[in-house]
Amino acid sequence: MSPAAPHGRVIALHLAVVALLFAGEFVLPAYHHGVMARIMVLAVFAMGYNLLFGYTGLLSLGHAMFFAAGMYGAGLTAYHLGWSVAAAFPAGIVAGAAVSAGIALLALRTTGVAFMIVTMMFAQVGYLLTLYFGNWTRGEEGLTLAPAARLLGPFDFTDPATRYFAALALFAVVLFLTLAVVRAPFGRVLVAIRENEERTRMLGYDTFANKLAATVLSGTICASAGAAYALLFGYFGSTFATVAYSILPLLWVLVGGAATTLGPFLGTLAMYYLIDISNDVLNRHFPDWDMSYLGTVGVALVLLVLFFPKGLLGTLRQRWVVWLP
């Protein structure tokens, strides 16, 4: 954050993470390879959320609507209008930008707990709309994109390797974008707003405009994740607009560490495997327990907020690696 932070080391660390994920394509077994592609797309969702929650200090409980805006913006145009990936993906991003701008203009009039409830309610409206227009969306059942709709020039997203690299490309772009944003003057203003909004205003900053910009940027990044999810994995449905998908990015960011650039990815990775493994183990030993993601997510949230509020990288930064962005 501060100009004195070692620039080279930070860039090298982020490049190393991307390189490691690149190598993953060649070494990961098939199952984990598929999982990792999904995790990278969901980590983009978490990074978008982190920009608003971690850096700007605005706790939204409605980010599923931005993810879903991107998902339906891309999915519906591809499914019903036959748009190519090259057109449908930008359509998803534009949809996300428009929705986040509209919601931000309303929701940012509130603060604190009211902001949380208002965003949750708008997201609920978004979810109900996907059900109401079931003729086009097929509601909870969702829609599956034909393989022909998942081609981008020579790239075929039904192929696992192509899909993996596409997910990695989006992940890398958004990772370096957030890194650039939080190290730019704009990022410093966002942190200042989080720390003391009134003081920031009295330094001459239009805090509303800055929060608006942060919300739209955050929402648009989340929408890009939603659009990519629909096009890469070929499925989209109302489930992705439910409250659960507003809570999950919050959980991932809390686990990895709010206001750290790599925390969202780490949190998504950790939670995905934690849920996966704990369900496996518990279902094997206690087959009649009906374990779903619910219990693990619930316990993780409570324990985190009680004992580990800074998350993995937040704690690491506080104790040992102070230069971590």
Binding site: L59, T110, Q124, V125, L128, L294, V302
Partner: protein, 293 residues
């Protein structure tokens, strides 16, 4: 059916909804009013009440009324105990910080859902009503039990009002709500008041659930709707206002009941949710509340 009777039926259904909603929302409102805690797990206390009611009524043999009466006592007490435990173990340790408690109660929501899924299962199960009498109105027959739900809910509401407005307990609660520090200075055991209020809020939701479960069914995901509707009621009615809560519950319950009869229930929910979000944006003190104190 002609329009008039149809409307009457819708109004009766709405009134039953409103009665149960008023109880549930009052619990949420009390907790927020006194503790400044937004309890996202409130709907799960409702769900827990319904599931426990099923458990108790199936365990007790004999006349259905016997089991139901037992459920009406046991379920709220058990839910109150769960709430007390979560207050002790989680909320108190967070010092009731508003944002942290929201995240924690979201966690609690999932834990309670998982517990219900594990011990009760994914099925929706009915509970036999304590009595099965149909009142024959000139146009249609109507369940006497549904009418008794309205009555029972009114009794509980009145009792709660009496406790809040006329007893020492209520006075202590209002003092704590007004200013935590001053209350402590006057020797009010604030932590015990908080624990009591949190348990009471959960118990109100549980009573509401026991009353409604013979009409609807018990299911581990049934908490979402009562939570959302309670939020709506509390926001429209203004926080911490008993009268506002009851008026708003009537408004929402009736309009929801009536609109659902004539329009798609999804559309009704969309409109209600959107309207309430906008109320919160443009008139944060609610429609019946006063401007910020």
């Amino acid at each position: 059916m002609a329009f008039g009777p149809h409307l009457l039926l819708a109004a009766l259904e709405g009134l039953v909804q409103a009665a149960v909603l008023a109880l549930t929302a009052l619990g949420l409102s009390l907790v927020f009013g006194v503790m400044r805690v937004v309890n996202v797990a409130h709907g799960e206390f409702f769900m827990l009440g319904a599931v426990l009611a099923w458990g108790v009524t199936t365990a007790v043999s004999g006349h259905p009324a016997l089991g139901f009466a037992a459920a009406l006592v046991v379920a709220p007490l058990a839910v109150g105990a769960v709430a007390l435990l979560s207050e002790r173990l989680v909320l108190r340790r967070l010092d009731y910080n508003p944002e942290a408690t929201i995240v924690a109660t979201i966690g609690l929501l999932y834990i309670l859902q998982q517990a219900a899924l594990t011990f009760y299962g994914p099925e929706a199960r009915p509970v036999v009503p304590p009595f099965n009498i149909r009142l024959q109105l000139p146009w249609f027959g109507y369940s006497a039990y549904k009418l008794s739900v309205i009555g029972a809910s009114a009794v509980v509401l009145a009792a709660t009002w009496f406790v809040l407005a006329r007893t020492r307990i209520g006075l202590v609660m209002r003092a704590t709500q007004y200013d935590r520090e001053i209350a402590t200075a006057f020797g009010i055991p604030v932590e015990r008041v908080y624990a009591g209020v949190f348990a009471l809020g959960a118990m109100l939701a549980a009573v509401a659930a026991v009353l409604i479960v013979p009409i609807s069914q018990a299911h581990y995901l049934m908490g979402a709707d009562p939570l959302l509707l309670s939020f709506i009621v509390v926001i429209i009615g203004g926080l911490g206002s008993l009268r506002g809560t009851v008026v708003a519950a009537l408004l929402i319950g009736l309009s929801d009941g009536i609109v659902s009869v004539f329009f798609s229930p999804t559309l009704a929910k969309i409109i209600a949710t959107l309207a309430v979000a906008l109320v919160l944006v443009f008139r944060p003190q609610g429609l019946f509340g006063q401007a910020a104190r």
